[in-house]
């Protein structure tokens, strides 16, 4: 949804600012304002994938002041002669959540076309792999004709393309961000010869991007977030796709997923409810085996029973004593079950926990069925994962 012109209304501006300040401290805006260059930050989780931050340098390059573009989708820079294939390349990179560089014809506020090197990169939450924002750096490409530049080597700091999807994009009604930077807006002038970015332009783009990451990191630590330019491995385990994380994130029960194919069967996902139940933080347990929950009172026979069932790929429900981080024991109704992906083979095990010492209200369902609801929801989420870990794609 684009505002018609001029600054967005106050409430909207507050929401756009909150997109950053909710994740990073308030000083992040000042820090970003200090950085040279023309760049934007966009929030894919907000309707229309709007620009939530625009740098001071934007005006001199494009004629737009930051308040002219806040809340609008970045396609506003494109125009009639912008190459659609280039735009499609950007759109695809946004959908696949990978970095991308392309020389593209943009239009200034006064309608004049100009060539820029556009560098788009996702900003990942370091631990759960969510994409928090996209950054888009624009570096002007000079007019002089030059030799064909060396093929652009994708900067190694950014992850290879993973075919993940944002959940919101699939809702039939949502006019959301899959169309992130796309859409030709009919605005007049023709382009000249297509231009090629020089190595110097690319370095400049990269360096600006890195400065942005540094700024975000410096200020994210204050609110407990850590961000990075690639999907980070926690303790050496491959992170789950961010869309899988998103769908798992909707499941309210207390559970973890473990991966038996990795050494010592580590936890690869933990729900928020699990963290509340046990008192651990995500960083502390991702990559660890579930035995961190066990303690002196935990029955070894029950643990052996669980292991036996895991080995034969069967589900089981057991009662055992487990321990929170603070050492407090709780009676745990634990259901463990193998979970298969689209290939039909077991990809993970799900462990759903329930503290039996607390009175729960499951709206009439028995505790067992309530737990099994989590298992079912996990099955559905993982079933659309192909063997390579990427999602099933309907075309190509």
């Amino acid at each position: 949804m684009e505002s018609s012109g001029g600054a967005p209304p106050a409430e909207e501006r507050r929401l756009l600012a909150a997109s950053l300040t909710a994740r990073y401290s308030d000083w992040v805006l000042e820090e970003l304002d200090e950085l040279p260059g023309s760049f934007l930050l966009t929030d894919p989780a907000m309707s229309g994938h709007p620009i939530v931050y625009a740098s001071r340098g934007l005006a001199s390059l494009t004629g737009y002041r930051p308040r002219d573009v806040l809340g609008r989708n970045a396609r506003l820079f494109q125009g009639a002669a912008t190459d659609r294939a280039a735009v499609a390349g950007v759109r695809d990179a946004v959908r696949c959540q990978r970095a991308h560089q392309v020389a593209i014809l943009n239009y200034r506020r006064d309608g004049a076309p100009h060539w820029v090197l556009l560098h788009v990169a996702p900003v990942f939450h370091a631990h759960d792999g969510r994409v928090l924002h996209f950054l888009a750096v624009q570096v002007p490409i000079a007019a002089a004709p030059r030799r064909r530049a060396a093929p652009c080597r994708r900067p190694p700091v950014f992850a290879a393309c993973r075919e993940e999807a944002r959940v919101e994009e699939e809702l039939p009604c949502a006019s959301h961000a899959g169309e992130a930077f796309v859409d030709i807006d009919k605005r007049g002038l023709e382009a000249g010869e297509p231009r090629v970015a020089s190595g110097c332009d690319k370095e400049k783009a990269l360096s600006t991007a890195n400065s942005i990451f540094s700024a975000l990191n410096r200020y994210s630590k204050l609110t407990g977030l850590v961000v990075c330019g690639k999907r980070c491995d926690s303790a050496g385990i491959p992170a789950l796709s961010s869309s899988l994380n998103l769908s798992l994130g909707r499941i309210k029960q207390s559970f973890v997923l473990t991966d038996r194919h990795l050494p010592d069967m580590p936890v690869v996902y933990a729900s928020d409810a699990f963290l509340s139940l046990t008192g651990y933080s995500r960083e502390e347990i991702l990559g660890c085996n579930c035995r961190f929950l066990n303690g002196p009172g935990t029955s070894l026979e029950v643990l052996e029973e669980i292991n036996r069932n895991i080995c034969c790929e069967q589900a089981c429900t057991v009662h055992l004593l487990n321990y929170r981080k603070d050492g407090l024991a709780f009676p745990d109704l634990l259901h463990v079950s193998p979970i298969r992906n689209a290939s039909g083979k077991v990809a993970f095990h799900v462990w759903v926990h329930l503290d039996e010492s607390i009175k729960h209200d499951f709206n009439g369902l028995s505790p067992e069925v309530w737990q099994l609801g989590a298992v079912g929801a996990v099955r559905v989420a993982v079933r659309s994962l192909s063997a390579s870990g990427s999602l099933l794609r309907p075309s190509q």
């Binding site: 369902l365 069925v369 099955r379 099933l392």
Partner: protein, 434 residues
């Protein structure tokens, strides 16, 4: 001389009680008059009005119906070993191509082909108690009753005696041969022993179920007799598949209606660029308005002996009707052997684009072209479809207007005009890009 047409096919087993001797009478805790009224089942009573789709303040969480109740109960039955196989162990993939057909390999046990229990050339056939019907199903296969609570909020009761109800019980049961995880059967007014035919009240029940699930990935389907319904006892099917169906992505072309008929608010379109010709019904001022228009169309088809399938998608906001002719062609020997060898019976799920294949070679080689070829055999010809469409319009009192057609080229997934379902409460799993 009337020739009775039948075909031989491997029957789909919907219930563990289907292939028994079939003798009724009990002690088995079934769904018949002998057992059901005397027993208790969980009851989900849905809200009567669908105006407020979002968070109910004191009511159930919006994902309760689908995530907690249906999937939880389904998983419970899996743990009890009631299903004939683990469907999640069946390899599945999306076939590359424009439409993205979904293929699944389910080699299953080799079952013998038997003649179908009823003739395939009559859409309406009387109920036969001797044949298998859902009153013979054991209650362990039933997940819960699903009925109209009559109020503003939905509620759930874990254990309700079946005698105490203002409605004849309608139940949701498992399909023991599931196509996907969560595959269930909705059986309206099970004790009334209704044959497989659409009526307004039952269809509305199905729409309400789609609305309660509130997920675009949970669809309901109906097969008439002659269009691969397995059992002549009124039932709908439903399951959860977290990718768009090909038919949901196909473009549609609106059929302009004369102004006076627009008071129901229902929009009718023709399905375009899809191997099976069909009509699409959307919007409607209320769920009932939409349901009534569709029901009228189905009743015309039933009464005029045209087999058809119905897909309820988009949480009950979008309904497809596919008239078809495959079974008759098959009985008359008009279908090529290689298509028959795939053993695919093109019922509503196959037509929508979800195809279960029984041979690995078919699965490996599955292509959009081969899927299209199979489904094209199912469709009525353009001529016949237009005839049927005209008759449906006439029979249901709709009039096509003379205005210029508005072509709606966008696929439904690109259009932003559907009801604004809040993303935060959609309980589905990973979704896929086009």
């Amino acid at each position: 001389m009337e020739v009775k047409l039948t075909i031989k096919r491997v029957p789909t087993v919907l219930s563990n009680y289907q292939e028994e001797g079939g003798g009724a009478g009990c002690g088995r805790n079934c769904l018949g008059d002998c057992c059901l009224p005397a027993s208790k089942l969980p009851l989900y009573a849905f809200k009567a009005s669908n105006q407020n789709k979002f968070a109910q303040e004191d009511g159930l969480p919006t994902d309760f119906f689908l995530n907690s109740l249906l999937l939880g109960q389904w998983e419970d039955r899996m743990a009890q070993g009631l299903f004939r196989y683990d469907v999640t162990a069946c390899e599945t993939k999306v076939i590359p191509g424009e439409l993205g057909f979904v293929a699944q390999l389910n080699e299953g046990r080799h079952l013998k082909k038997r003649p179908t229990e009823f003739r395939v050339d009559r859409v309406l056939q009387p109920f036969h108690s001797a044949k298998f019907n859902f009153t013979k199903v054991g209650q362990e296969e039933v997940l819960f009753r699903f009925e109209n609570g009559g109020g503003d909020s939905s509620y759930f009761l874990a254990n309700v005696p079946n005698t105490e109800s203002s409605h004849p019980p309608s139940v949701v049961a498992i399909n023991v041969s599931p196509i996907e995880y969560g595959h269930v059967l909705l059986i309206p007014r099970v004790l009334d022993r209704l044959p497989q035919r659409i009526d307004p009240e039952s269809f509305l029940l199905a729409l309400h179920m789609a609305a309660e699930a509130a997920s675009p990935y949970f669809r309901l389907g109906y097969n008439s007799l002659g269009a691969f319904a397995t059992i002549n006892h009124l039932h709908f099917q439903a399951y959860y598949l977290s990718v768009p169906f090909p038919v949901e992505k196909a473009p549609t072309k609106k059929i302009p209606l004369a102004k006076c008929e627009l008071k129901s608010g229902v929009k009718v379109s023709k399905l375009m660029n899809f191997p099976v010709r069909g009509l699409v019904f959307e919007r409607g001022n209320t769920l009932k308005d939409l349901g009534d228009v569709v029901t009228n169309a189905c009743i015309w088809l039933q009464d005029n002996n045209v087999p058809f399938n119905v897909l309820i998608s988009d949480s009950g906001q979008k309904i497809f009707i596919f008239p078809q002719c495959y079974a008759e062609k098959q009985a008359l020997g008009e279908v090529s052997q290689d298509l028959l060898d795939t053993q695919v019976n093109p019922a509503v799920w196959e037509i929508s684009g979800h195809i279960v294949l029984k041979r690995r070679a078919d699965f490996e080689e599955a292509s959009e072209a081969s899927a299209w070829r199979l489904l094209a055999e199912v469709s009525l010809s353009e001529e016949r479809f237009e005839e049927v469409k005209a008759c449906i319009f006439q029979g249901t009192g709709l009039t096509e207007s003379d205005e210029e057609d508005e072509t709606n080229e966008e696929s439904p997934y690109a259009s932003s005009s559907s009801a604004p379902v809040a993303s935060s409460h959609i309980p589905e799993g990973c979704l896929v890009l086009q």
